[in-house]
Amino acid sequence: MLQNYFKIALRNLIRNKVYSAINIAGLAIGVASCILIFLYIKDELSYESHFDKADRIVRLVGEIDSDAGHEQFALSAPALAPALVKDFPDVEHVTQLARAGKQTVWYKDKRFNEDDLIFADSSFFQVFNYEMLAGNPAEVLDEPNTVVLSEKMAQKYFNSPAEAVGEIFTFSNEPYQVTGVFRDAGHSHIKANAFISRSTLDARLDDETRNNQWFAMSRYTYVLLHGPEEFDAFQAKMDAFAARHVNPWIKENDLSGTMRFVVQPLRTIHFDTNYAADLSPAGNISYVYIFAAVAVFLLLIACINYMNLATARSAKRAKEVGLRKVVGADRSQIIRQFMGESVFITLIAVMLALALVQILIPTFNALTDKNFTSGFFLQWEFLAILLAIVVFVGIVAGSYPAFFLSGFKPADVLKSDKAPRGGSAILRRALVVLQFTISLIMIIGTIVVFSQMNFLKNRDLGFNKNQVMVIDIPRGDSTLVKGLPRIKQELLSNPNVEVVSNTNNIPAEGMSKLLMLMEKDGQQVEKTMNTMFVDYDFLDAMGIKLSRGRNYSRDFKTDEKSALIINEAAAKLMGWTNPIGKRIQVMDLDAKVIGVTKDFHTKSLHTEVEPLLMVLAPESDGYLLARVKPQDMAATVNFIENKWQAYDPKHPMDYFFMDEHFDEQYRAEEKMLTVFGYFAGLTILIACLGLFGLASFTAEQRTKEIGIRKVLGSSTGSIVLLLSKDFALLVMLSIILASPVAWYGMNKWLQDFAFRVPLSWWIFAAAGCSAMLIALLTVSLQAMKAAMLDPVNAIRTQ
């Protein structure tokens, strides 16, 4: 019997090539997209999962509530680790990391700027089990001045991991011996090129910081517990801990606010809210949901195609159903047959989808910045998912036609003159409307997303990000800083270099907050505020405008000691109507405000401009900014490169452009949204495939009517109109249904941005028009074919 079903299914497939192609292509594209999305989501959700003890590790993050508001830091104090060990003897391990950031690394005659260097202690590898390519994880970081390299970094200097061990690297003027090499596989919020023994760093701490300076937040603290069931109890213990140690200390030292340690399970870090100064930016879980939804939509639309075409064509299968019943098939057998058929077709589609995925993986990798290989084909987990897809799609797509077809009464369908109508036209229309509603939501989403991204890039940031070359000034080299006025002068000798400035920070980099006393109603009140250290030319180099007062000037000798510039947001925070002359005490400065800048963005447009203090510090390291003219850019950049390398031959030069750097903030988001755009396109493609099939079915059904109309003198155009009208109405209905849903969803997405494009009517109109256009094009193609037929042939076919 199975053989019989199989033959029938196959022969039907071959006999109805167009329908089969539409069904199989639609399903294959849907399934292939699903597989790719599945890979993507799985990858996104795989953070930390490669650590054996991932489910037992928590991080302690600091939350401070004070007049300045609620602040969250990924960091905690060095004092936390020894205190935890003392207070909680049953905790297996406490380990702390500290960022070493970017350093110039010396090895023999090789020099590289290495980023993502992290200080760790000897217990780190006990908590986080990295695969070691060389060295014993239990002891690699025991000794001071040791370093464990990532495989990637080791490859840069050595031929094999074993070769690295014992070699000496120098950075920050200290020698470090390589004791091991780890494999950097899997996603983690800890991205390290090397782990450096922290003892050198610890030795430099003063007693106060080591024991009870709770606000000296410079460490990432991880605790290995026994399991997730312990997390809640541990949070309670940490609250008691803060009450016992930290908050009394805050009072004793006349500081304001209260502090709390939040227990953050390791596995949740990637998708948790952004904590200040985290090791890597948080991911956005909503994108995972969006992609999952897109995958379901794609499959659903492909299933609807199958259902629609199968029922539309049911007249052709009705006789077979009737006959099978006549010879003794009962309904359940017929249902099984058609379900089996759809599972069979799905199976073919899945095979095709696998081939498609195989072909698309490189493109998908390029698109998503990921590194998928087809190795996953053989994982049981994947095969199980695949099987689930086959069964799910086969049953979802097959059930309606199966129940519909199996319900035929043989007595009705075997009457040779009257074939039953092809299923419920209303249901089919409803399904088409559903398809187009989904497609439209995705088109509208895509348009909104891209106009928002465009808006972000083109919005006036309050500074001019274009034409600014940024050179990294290696930190901790005082001679470099001392010579800055000289090199600036040298660079300015090129007429294409307009302004040169140095600053400790630039937009799109993490800002540091400082505690200060600010004048409020004749009193000095405590505030913490973002602070930058800039020189006289910073505002010019950045193209930042003043709204009040004046810029720092070399003509005023007192500026360095007693003048400060703030932004408008800071003035607003303090409620100063005339900020000029207001007193601010910060670090060892006791100064007056001399200027207020217009607000400019130092972070992505997801957030509002925050209050900012710009302190004059002509000798700060960090970045050298050179605003250059657009003409002869390459030559100018080359000139600056040569000058800088001559000035600082000790470090490899690192430079970039401000605009690219700023836009980099949106890169991950943009990538994701581009992928979304592609899938939106596919959704429409599959929906149109279905529409094409339905249109050709309708045209076929109405061939006779068309013929008669033509005989009676109807033009081709009016016949196309006749056939397209129905579908146009359906698309119209979809537009009406999709608009509010899309509006709601996109509005919600836009809430994530402090600055956003308005959801104007033209977006909906454009989406609606394009969907209508695509649909009509698809339908009229079929209608044309029917309308152009010789009327004689048309009438005779019946």
């Binding site: 019989n4 019943k325 010879v327 003794g328 098939a329 009962d330």
Partner: protein, 239 residues
Amino acid sequence: MNKEELIIETENLQKKYITDTVETTALAGVDLKIKKGEFVAIMGPSGCGKSTLLNILGMLDSPSSGAFRFLGQDISKATERQRAKLRKENLGFVFQSFNLIDELTVEENIALPLAYLGVSKADTEKKAREAMERMGIAHRRNHFPQQLSGGQQQRAAIARATVSNPSLILADEPTGNLDSVHGREVMSLLSELNEAGTTVVMVTHSPSDAEYAHRIVNLFDGQIVTENLNVRRHATELL
């Protein structure tokens, strides 16, 4: 009359079709008894309910009211599944328009009832071959229905109807789409089957076809108006 001998027994069988606006009475109280081994022809003008009656007898349709016993079993209480079972075990159908499945070959069409009966592969092959040989279409076994002439198609349909040795064959105008030569051929095939013990109930418009039957039931407006024994047939049998 001995009850055991009855294969079909209906009492006041009614069938009404209710469409959007009108109610059509296709059968208005039919009492019919058919004995095992009989050959019955149902005749009557177009639209009088012949096909409707045959479909109900074949359990392809259910009556609106009235009793229908098949081999003594009350069918009005049977479930869809039980009817399907009775159908595949006892009935064979022949239609005016042949009704072969286009996507299956002649042999596959003929073997189909056996598949639903769960007959083994070897037995299926054997029985299908026998049926094809009986009907003289064995050489066409691998052809698709469209590749056969009408007469060949009808012989294939009869082969399919008989392959499982049903006790009752229902034929709705089996010669309606055939020329007289092929028509006679089909009639003699049905006749042979009947002689071998199969009960045959046939709807026909053709008096000459009706000649093959033992008994002719005349239907008019959904009711049996006359039932007559086919004298000639009985006469030959008596000889």
